[in-house]
Symmetry: C2
DNA sequence: GCTTACCTACTCGGATAGAGCGTGTCCGAGTGTAGTGGG
DNA sequence: CCCACTACACTCGGACACGCTCTATCCGAGTAGGTAAGC
């Protein structure tokens, strides 16, 4: 019962990408710098999000990542499943029928009750994750977090998103 | 997001131990045989359950394991936490404040919204697991499973539990 | 025949190797941009 | 002065080592029971 630490990075990046405007992108290197992570390794997780159709990637100069759809339609479950894989955490190995005195296969048509209970709990987990939309994460951050932190994040996005808005003032 | 397969073995063993009567015990070797597992490795997990005060172990001949309290008071959550560890699956590394432009610590007193959402989902998971009592697992198995499977399990327990009830007929 | 001491066999418990997966890093393919030469 | 070509710099994408956790195993410590000898 342990999630890879790439999940945290993926969610933070997705939340940051929710702040870019329109067709603009944010490069993986910029996000890695923002969170103090290894750029090469972050790319690995961002690539998984691209493969899951959560992010879009554009190559070349002024390239980077953007959300593939609105933050309203992206849930934490989407991100977690993309990074950690879709199979359930508890996999029933059917050890009940692996003993030396196993019965006929017809005695095991009913599903294992233990498996059912574990899967039910995991369904509750996924349901809670599916109810957490990325847009909620962002709006909660905007309203609840420290104003300095919000301002810093918005400034970072505005400075690194590309193509730069021509109207905005260029900062060093 | 992956649970070790020891969890499955631990739950099955606990369910089987719920079938022994009174002070009787079941040896780890017997349970390993019942499920086709390596005895030495199963001991490792059973030992964790003992350390968590879920099982009691008695040494020596006619020794083995028994439940430390009634199956009514043991939940799947107890077993999962004992085997997999008590720390949550999602550990917030606070990467939001690890970038090069981190603000004063006072800007991060509010908890991370992403961490809160993930922990909320995990609370739902644990709640569902805490509602699944071991006694429910056993009674559901007794009523729903194939009668042959139930009979085989009961026979196995009766044959291997020790000290043997003197009144029961000895089987080869 | 009863008691007692010893010995054996069986159990759990912790310490010890091996495999699989997540972590971290590197280099190559692709693309848009900027500069330069020619018309 | 305008256009086309070339070279470059920057991006993502996949292939390659390393470390750690989970898996699997072995051997030692401890204990209860059975056995045999002594009273």
């Amino acid at each position: 019962m342990k999630l890879g630490e790439g999940v945290e990075a993926a969610i933070h990046c997705a939340a940051m990408l929710a702040g870019v405007e329109g067709e603009a992108t944010l490069s993986g290197a910029a996000m890695a710098e923002a969170f103090g992570l290894s750029p090469s390794y972050l790319l690995k997780h961002l690539n998984m999000l691209s493969a899951a159709r959560i992010l879009e990637s554009v190559s070349g100069p002024a390239g980077g990542y953007r959300l593939a759809r609105s933050a309203e339609r992206i849930t934490l479950l989407d991100i977690v499943l993309a990074v950690e894989g879709r199979e359930p955490a508890f996999r029933c190995g059917e050890i009940r029928q692996r003993g030396p005195a196993k019965l006929d296969a017809s005695a095991y048509v009913k599903p294992c009750g233990i498996n059912a209970a574990m899967l039910k709990a995991e369904r509750a987990y996924r349901t809670a994750l599916a109810e957490a939309k990325l847009s909620d994460i962002v709006s909660d951050f905007m309203s609840d977090a420290d104003p300095r932190s919000v301002a810093a994040s918005c400034a970072f996005v505005a400075r690194h998103q590309r193509p730069q808005k021509s109207s905005s003032t260029k900062q060093a």
